[in-house]
Symmetry: none
Subunit: 149 residues, 2 copies
C-alpha cells in the first residue's frame, strides 16, 4: 500500500513534462509497473494514482449503480479526465494539455504526496486554497483526531 507524503516544488518544462520526486518514487510499489493514471482532482488540482492504487479505485466505482443518474455523472466525469502515463527514463510523466489547462498549470507546480495518491497543483492556486481555509490546522486537528481511542 502506498503512503506518499511531502511537498515538492518542481518545474514543468516546455514539453509539459513533470519529474516525479525521488522520495515519492521510492513509495511506488513495483506492481504499479511505472504506470500512472492522471485525472482531475477535487479542488483545482490533478490526482496521480499508481496503477495498483487506481485499480482499487476502479473496483470501487465498478460497484456503483449504473441506473443512478448521480452515479453515472460521477463515473463519466472521473473517467473522461483520466489518462494513462508512462514514466520516461528520467522518471518524468508527460501530462496532456487539457489536464494542465484544467489545473491552471504553467511552468511551476507544487507536488503533494497524500497517502495513496499524488496531487499536482499550480503553486498560486494551492497557496490560495490553503489561505482560504476557514479553520486553522490546530483547530481542525482537534476536531478530526478527537475520536481517536
Amino acid at each position: 500500500m502506498s503512503s506518499f507524503k511531502g511537498r515538492f516544488s518542481y518545474s514543468v518544462d516546455n514539453k509539459g513534462r513533470i519529474a516525479l520526486p525521488a522520495k515519492l518514487r521510492k513509495n511506488v510499489s513495483p506492481e504499479a509497473n511505472e504506470t500512472f493514471i492522471v485525472t482531475r482532482g477535487f479542488e483545482q488540482c490533478l490526482f496521480v494514482y499508481p496503477q495498483d492504487e487506481w485499480n482499487k479505485l476502479e473496483e470501487a466505482i465498478r460497484h456503483l449503480s449504473p441506473s443512478n443518474p448521480q452515479h453515472r455523472f460521477f463515473v463519466r466525469t472521473l473517467l473522461q479526465w483520466s489518462t494513462d502515463c508512462q514514466l520516461d527514463s528520467q522518471a518524468r510523466i508527460s501530462i496532456p494539455h487539457d489536464l494542465l489547462k484544467f489545473a491552471g498549470i504553467e511552468n511551476e507546480v507544487q507536488i503533494l504526496g497524500v497517502l495513496e495518491r499524488i496531487e499536482i497543483w499550480n503553486p498560486n492556486i494551492y497557496e490560495e486554497y490553503m489561505n482560504n481555509q476557514p479553520a486553522t490546522y490546530e483547530t481542525v486537528a482537534e476536531a478530526v483526531l478527537k475520536p481517536q481511542e
Copy 2:
C-alpha cells in the same frame, strides 16, 4: 511503545543536521528501523515520530473520509509537511529547509521528549511559549489530572 522524555539543547550545523540525543535514541524501538518522520507540529515547532509511531498516526488519517473537505484540508496539511529522515552514521537527521523555516530554527534548538514523539523548537520561541501560558503548571495540572480513575 516509545516513551521519550527530557529536554536537550543541541546545535544545527550548516547542512541542517541535528543529532538525536543519546538518551532519546535508547528509547526508539528497533521496529523504527532508524527511520523517522518529521512534520509540522502544533504551535511553531516540529514533531519527529519514529517510523512505528508514525504508522499508528497514518492509520488514523487513512480512515478519514476523502470526500469531506475539512478532512482533505487536514490530511493535506499534515502530509505536505511530512518527510522521511534516515539517521546517518552519526545518529543525526537532516531536516529540510522548509521545515526549519516553518519552525524558525537557525543554529540552536531545544529538543523535547514527549512520550511517543520528539519535538524540536527554536529556543526563543519555546521560551516565549512557556512564558505566555495563561495558567500556571499547578492550576493546569489540577484540571488535567482530575478525572483520572
